[in-house]
């Protein structure tokens, strides 16, 4: 059997080649972070200069949204074109620069809002470079952009940590084993990790689902307005994972006597794979035809052709998985027992119970059958729902899609079977146990009384057993693997008599040479009473009741 002592105190086993590889890995990782930082800094350093430029009155002389890159795969389709005049060093100067970077977008409404804000004839403020008065901007560098620096930091930190720690000699670390007893650091790391998942999931969920969904709800009261379709196309976008597509229908409409334009089809932005579905939508809006769009009365630059939910919105629920993992993990970490901290002069809490326990312990039937049934329904709905969604999304199905779909389909069928199995198990007789004493010491007698409710006549046989097992967990979080080894399997009762199966009692004297319950974070000794009722051609009664076994009393221990 594999046995190993986890080495917390050094990495002396790492070969020189391994250290070089780990160092290079860390440096490359950190290097990417540094590269991103340099790129961000390059833009930021130029942009931040604009905050030192002189505020100067100016007048807008031209303002429009222009179309560009029409039919091209890459590049934004709309740009804000502006012209304004200002006076610097005694002469009138004309500038066309909105920001240091040109303002462009695939969203017409964004550019239209800029055009409305800087309407022709408007008096506003521009910022003039004192060293070069011919250079000016209408909008200074957006300081929120500086938060981009936060993204490469984890890469840099992780890479640097890997490269540093691999060369840290074991002797430079504490060689005290007992010093490892304070797990506060692990808990903090868990909180940070889970919070990160929760944050990323929450932000993605907001932008991909909650925000569009709130728009869908609000848009129910938006007025329907006739609009003219100017152009229609499925726009292609090149990406690292292949080409993606978006619906791009450009249309004009009048609202409150003012002409407007928009290219928003629905409230989902971005692009995705799947050309055919988008082409089908685009074909419904030929150029030159009339259609109905829905206009935001508070901001008439905002309009959509389809104000309901789109199928893409349900895919946008995927970040919920991150929220669930992060939130669930955070709760688990916060509820985690904080180990056995060293406290000078006073005994720490023990992983083995020795304190007095209740005289009697009553176990009601666990909710496990219901939990299993609900879990099976959830898995079945999720699995089969995804299969149906994917099957519709990727029509027509080719071999590459069909093969994984068939595989998933098999699991889908199994999940139906499990739902039926756990549904039938709900009608099994339910065991109620009473044990005396509530926690029994090794060498003492355990008295068990049981009652089965429900249709006991279907039972062929009933067994109650006391089992002891070791559980050892290696790794942490999602990489954790738990091994189990049973060392005790003691029969409490085994009967086929109808009357005894319905109600009975038995006594078991525990061997003194075994070990009591032990509950440390990664290593446990677990004692349970199992109830097994055999039912022919039906899911068996299977319930497990954990109990506490105490250390042997001194008198019993001495009699070994």
């Amino acid at each position: 059997m594999f046995r190993a002592v986890i080495n917390y105190r050094g990495n002396s086993s790492t070969t020189f080649g391994g250290k070089i590889f780990a160092t290079l890995f860390g440096l490359v990782f950190a290097g990417f972070g540094v590269l991103f930082c340099v790129l961000i800094f390059r833009d930021a350093s130029a942009g931040l200069q604009t905050w030192r430029w002189t505020e100067t009155p100016c007048t807008i002389t031209a303002s429009d949204v222009i179309r560009q890159n029409i039919g091209k795969r890459d590049g934004d389709e709309f740009a804000f074109a502006v012209k304004y005049t200002y006076t610097a060093k005694g002469r009138e100067i004309v500038s066309q620069q909105y920001q240091l970077q040109p303002a462009s977008s695939d969203d017409y409404a964004r550019m239209a809002r800029l055009s409305e804000r800087y309407a022709v004839g408007a008096k506003t403020i521009c910022y003039v470079n004192s060293n070069s008065p011919d250079t000016a901007v209408l909008a200074r560098y957006n300081l929120w952009t500086l938060f981009l620096f936060l993204f490469p930091l984890p890469f840099m930190g992780f890479g640097a940590l890997v490269a540093y720690s691999v060369w840290q000699s074991p002797s430079s670390r504490p060689s005290s084993l007992s010093a490892q007893a304070v797990p506060a650091k692990n808990k903090s790391a868990g909180i940070v990790k889970c919070s990160f998942f929760l944050l990323i999931g929450g932000v993605a969920l907001y932008f991909l689902f909650l925000h569009p969904m709130s728009k869908v709800i609000v848009a129910r009261s938006w007025p329907a307005v006739p609009c003219n379709i100017i152009s229609n196309a499925v726009k292609s976008h090149s990406g690292s994972k292949g080409t993606t597509y978006s619906i791009n229908i450009f249309y004009s409409y009048d609202f409150n006597g003012h002409p407007h334009k928009s290219n928003a089809y629905d409230f989902m932005s971005g692009s995705s794979s799947g050309y055919a579905g988008k082409q089908a939508v685009v074909s419904q809006y030929p150029s030159g035809t009339k259609a109905i769009c829905y206009v935001n009365p508070n901001d008439p630059t905002e309009a959509v052709l389809m104000r309901g939910q789109s199928s893409m919105m349900w895919f946008a629920l995927i970040p919920l998985v991150f929220v669930a993992i992060g939130g669930g993990g955070l709760i688990a970490v916060l509820r985690q027992r904080s180990g056995n901290p060293a406290s000078a002069g006073s005994p720490a809490s023990s992983p083995t119970t020795t304190s007095p326990t209740p005289e009697t312990l009553v176990f009601k039937p666990s909710a496990a059958p219901w939990k299993m049934f609900i879990g099976a329904i959830f898995v079945c709905l999720l699995l089969n729902g995804l299969i149906v969604l994917f099957a519709f999304k990727w029509r027509p199905l080719d071999a590459f899609i069909l093969l994984p779909l068939i595989t998933f389909g098999c699991f889908g069928l199994i999940s139906y079977g499990s739902v039926i199995y756990y549904f039938l198990a709900l009608f099994d007789p339910r065991p109620h146990l009473t044990i005396q004493p509530g926690a029994v010491a090794l060498g003492d007698s355990l008295h068990v009384q049981w009652t089965l409710t429900g249709n006991v006549s279907r039972l062929k046989n009933l067994q109650l057993r006391l089992t002891g097992r070791e559980e050892a967990t290696k790794g942490h979080g999602k990489n954790a693997v738990t091994a189990t080894s049973y060392f005790a399997n003691l029969e409490i009762a085994n009967t086929a008599l109808q009357r005894e199966m319905q109600r009975g009692e038995a006594c078991l004297t525990l061997p003194v040479h075994l070990v009591p319950s032990f509950d440390a974070p990664s290593n446990k000794i677990i004692w349970t009473i199992y109830v097994l009722g055999e039912i022919p051609r039906w899911p068996d009664v299977k319930q497990e009741f954990p109990i506490t076994i105490l250390p042997a009393q001194p008198a019993a221990a001495q009699s070994i």
Partner: protein, 138 residues
């Protein structure tokens, strides 16, 4: 040259749970330690992650560079040492100087009969399986 040493009375390393043990901690260090402690603790070894718990700590105040101090610990009633297939529970005394780089450790056994119980894997039980396989093999 730093040296730390733990000695129990009678050089005993096997004890019954709940009894009091005593001995002497001795050290000779290059410089006076800011802090020196003797810890009685348990730790696991085996297949899983290492779990460690300190039962009791004695801090030696005003420790000089070279010193010898008596100690006395009340052993706990549990957990006792055991030797499982996946996990072994060990007990030890550890003398730790400063930040923990200078250490002396003495492993001890706490067991009612002096021998840690050995947990044998039940051969007829399918490991990692539910109870229902357990019963049917008996």
């Amino acid at each position: 040259m730093n040296s730390l040493h733990i000695k129990t009375d009678g050089d005993q390393t096997t004890f019954s749970p709940g009894i009091e043990i005593s001995g002497t901690a001795t050290w000779q260090l290059d410089q006076s330690p800011a802090q020196i402690e003797l810890r009685l603790f348990w730790f696991t070894s085996g297949m899983g992650n290492e779990d460690i718990g300190i039962h009791q700590t004695i801090s030696f105040d005003h420790a000089s560079r070279q010193d010898s101090r008596p100690f006395r610990f009340q052993l706990p009633a549990a957990p006792c040492s055991f030797d499982g297939q996946l996990t072994t529970l060990n007990w030890a005394l550890e003398l730790v100087a400063g930040s923990g780089k200078e250490v002396a450790r003495l492993e001890i056994i706490i067991a009612p009969d002096g021998t840690p119980p050995k947990l044998e894997r039940l051969p007829h039980v399918k490991q990692k399986k539910s109870f229902f396989e357990l019963g049917s093999h008996r």
